[in-house]
Amino acid sequence: MTTGQKPAYELLGLKAREYDDICSRLGREPNYVELAIFSLMWSEHCGYKHSRPLLKNLPTSGERILQGPGENAGIIDIGEGLAIAMKIESHNHPSAIEPFQGAATGIGGIVRDIFAMGARPVACLDPLHFGSLEKARQKFLLDGVVAGVASYGNCMGIPTIGGELHFEDAYEDNCLVNVMCVGMVEHDKILKASASGEGNLIILFGSTTGRDGIGGASILASAEFDETAEEKRPTVQVGDPFTEKKLLEACLEMRDQGLLVGLQDLGAGGLSSSASEMASKGGSGIDMNIAKVPLRESGMEPFEIMISESQERMLACVTPANKAGVMAICAKWDLDATVVGAVTGNGRLRIFDGDEMIGDMPVKALVDEAPTYCITPVRPLHEADVALPDDHYPLPGDLDAALLELLASPNICSRRWVYRQYDHMVQTNNALWPGGEAAVIRIKGSRHGVALVTDGNGRRCYLDPRRGARLVVAEAARNLSCAGARPLAITNCLNFGNPEKGEIYHQFQEAVEGMAEACRELETPVTGGNVSFYNESFGKAIYPNPVVGMMGLVEDTGRIMTHGFKEEGDVVLLLGGGRPAVDGSEYQLRIHGEVDGRIPDVDLNQEKKLQTFVRGAILEGIAKSAHDVSDGGLACCLAESAIESGVGVTVELEAGPRPDVALFGETPELVVVTAAEADLERLERINGAGVLVKRIGRVGGNRIRISAGGKGIIDTPVAEAAQVWRESLEEAVAG
């Protein structure tokens, strides 16, 4: 089978030996329809060819995990018969080509994953990474992505309540647009993407099927970018949030009426992927008649119908008795609905065009038997063995100016410009609004709440992928703990370069192992997620960036903690034993223009004790504010709490490391807590684990004052810090 010079399989992204493998599984050569389907199912995006063996090492179970990886989303028990469904995904390549639609359909896809589980979506969080805002194209990308997220999420009525925003040159040609959705579901209403029961019907409903997004998963998501990137624009889908909103309501009505055997959304790989996965999960087969599929345009080839990634479509498995009920709900919501197939017992996906069979493949081969590859890892030369000495860089002459420069960094300053464009209040559940350590949503009718955060740190993972990944998990958990929530589970989006290269494979392997270690120790199993490889352009990869979306349980929404100082005279305490370092810090990048050294490793055992202590201090009503030391170090941490409250702080540090390292160095295992003087004894009493507690100052005044060894090193008015922090992003976007 050849088309022009190259064989058809190669044009579809398959290797020669993979083609041979397909032939041997079929016992013959595939026809074009079958080849197109195999090329999707065996793409990196759908088949996890380079990641599957390593992902097996992640912890995926726990007493609260009702559904781990393998379904459309993970599900976590939060008590009272309720559960949280969550999942994070990437839409990096589509967004790099067409930022608005790329981001919008990213939201659409992840939201469908959540309601396919029978859950009502209650929140979105979007970690975004771009190149430097000094470049016009990056502004265009940021603007388009934020507008795309806003357009889709706002219309759906799902609040976007958190995420991340990071700018660094490594993402200039490959922005990262990760999207996370969280839903709420009662235990007995959870749906699965399974097709079972011979003779049951397969109903396709929602939008019609067109030629948009053909090859999205295989051509776009599973290859590097080069000079042909622009030509791939037609592989990006176009979103219709209005139809998706109707689809959401229709699906939840079907769920409530108990009409569904299984429900699956159509995402990457379209009908091919959805049907084969439903059959695989149900241990069944499916006969699909493409002549029945409602089309958006005429003259579509059978293979196009099978692999189209047209958005806003769902596939349901329904008993013949419930067909009328499903059809009635679709009619109520003005949605097309058609019986396109039936469940069989033969374990095969058979495609018919009317009476003619045009494809016949074993479901198992499509879903479970994509080849896997292990590459010999190569440790990149830039990964150092030792940390930089504290005096590696010259001491800045003006530390106040350095503090303001860090607060103005687009990686630290206020994100209001972004979240103001997102409807972050709809559904009226925000117990904590965006801008804090974590987002917290209440559960109506319950005292419980759910805290959510996303975290990624590509720069640190670049310097040491294992330590970096451990740090990412630890920091996400620390954020939740500082809000007063107990971390329960994560979903992950693993953004990496081309895994066929030894150095990238090394980064991936190390990061996954680091993540597994941290998730085990902190008891936050992985409930699913997504791997995004080939984030490279012209051979240059992004920073390895395993992004974590973590959820935690708030026992009492009356006891949620925020990071702003609360009262003049409160004592400032530094909890934990982390030692600050410049390696991989925002200070190193912003002030000294380098990314170098070796980041400190997190002591997971100490981290766990620290977080338990912080949560205890919050639950006991002792802590009045809590903020973890992260980007920009202790000085930025204190400044942010001061800015939030409008109240200053005076801190006296021991003479120790160099002042710039003490102020701006970054470290795991450090949290700033404030408390009333009278409560300090109580705090000591609950510190059974012996977490290091240092009293470092007092809240008060209108300046941020820090001294070390008796010598003043920072003295900045809160108002000045606040102005810089509040206005920088907007200025950078406008400038």
Binding site: N154, G157, F242, T243, K245, W333, Q421, V426
Partner: protein, 244 residues
């Protein structure tokens, strides 16, 4: 789908109907908010319904009815229920349109004027300060005239426009109910989040039984989630109906 009415013996509950258009997304928020008030009950109305029997107040909620395709509210106004809403309003029934609901009321001609895109051409979601301009009408009498309340907005098209003659008429008849203001209640350009003419955030019809506003009072009925300044709108309606 009716909230349990917490009525005093012998007093019938004030009945709110929340219209669900395809694409409405603040319908549940409005329903939940109303349901928290003693003496009120809520039920959903499907946009194809043609009767509004027994209701005291109809809420056209926020969202993106029909995806806001064509123009915000332009398709929803043709929904079958809008004929009933018009009759209901003509008979003196209370109608409140919030955000997209306000846009629908404008498109339906139940309120005068039109919406432009926000001046900044971006969606804006934030808390704003509102000055109550008219506290002698069914939706606001629980507030004081000149009172400043904090209520969130969340819209792309809230830049209210009306011609000079129309504006004079609104002013003459005290139909401007709330305006965007600063914390001290001054009507300034800086306090205007969307470019709206005269900082107008909400208006009513001449008989003051139809009220449209861009801010979302239903989102601030519980201090756990951002404030309770919006409660006054629903409390005003409940009081008004009970004392009618």
């Amino acid at each position: 789908m009716t909230a349990s009415p917490q009525t005093h013996t012998g007093v019938h509950a004030v009945r709110f109907g929340v219209v669900v258009f395809p694409g409405s997304n603040c319908d549940a928020d409005s329903y939940d908010a109303v349901s928290t008030f003693a003496g009120a009950e809520a039920r959903y109305l499907w946009h194809k319904d043609e009767e509004l029997d027994g209701l005291d107040c109809v809420i056209l909620p926020g969202g993106f009815s029909y995806g806001d395709y064509l123009r915000c509210g332009a398709i929803a106004r043709f929904s079958p229920i809008m004929k009933a809403v018009r009759r209901f309003a003509e008979d003196g029934g209370l109608v409140i349109g919030i955000c997209n609901g306000f846009q629908i009321l404008l498109e339906a001609g139940l309120l005068p004027g039109a919406m432009h895109r926000n001046e900044g051409l971006r969606f804006v979601c934030q808390l704003v300060n509102l000055r109550v301009e008219n506290a002698a009408m069914p939706f606001t009498h629980r507030y004081d005239e000149g009172q400043v309340i904090q209520v969130p907005i969340a819209h792309m098209e809230g830049n209210y426009f009306i011609d000079e003659a129309g504006l004079s008429e609104l002013e003459a008849n005290k139909q401007i109910v709330i305006r965007y203001a600063n914390e001290s209640g001054e009507i300034t350009g800086e306090a205007n989040p969307n470019g709206s003419q005269g900082n107008i955030a909400g208006i009513c019809n001449r008989t003051s039984n139809v009220f449209g506003l861009m801010p979302h009072p239903e989102r601030v009925c519980d201090s756990l989630v951002g404030g309770a300044d919006g409660r006054g709108v629903f409390e005003s309606v409940i009081d008004f109906v009970k004392n009618r």
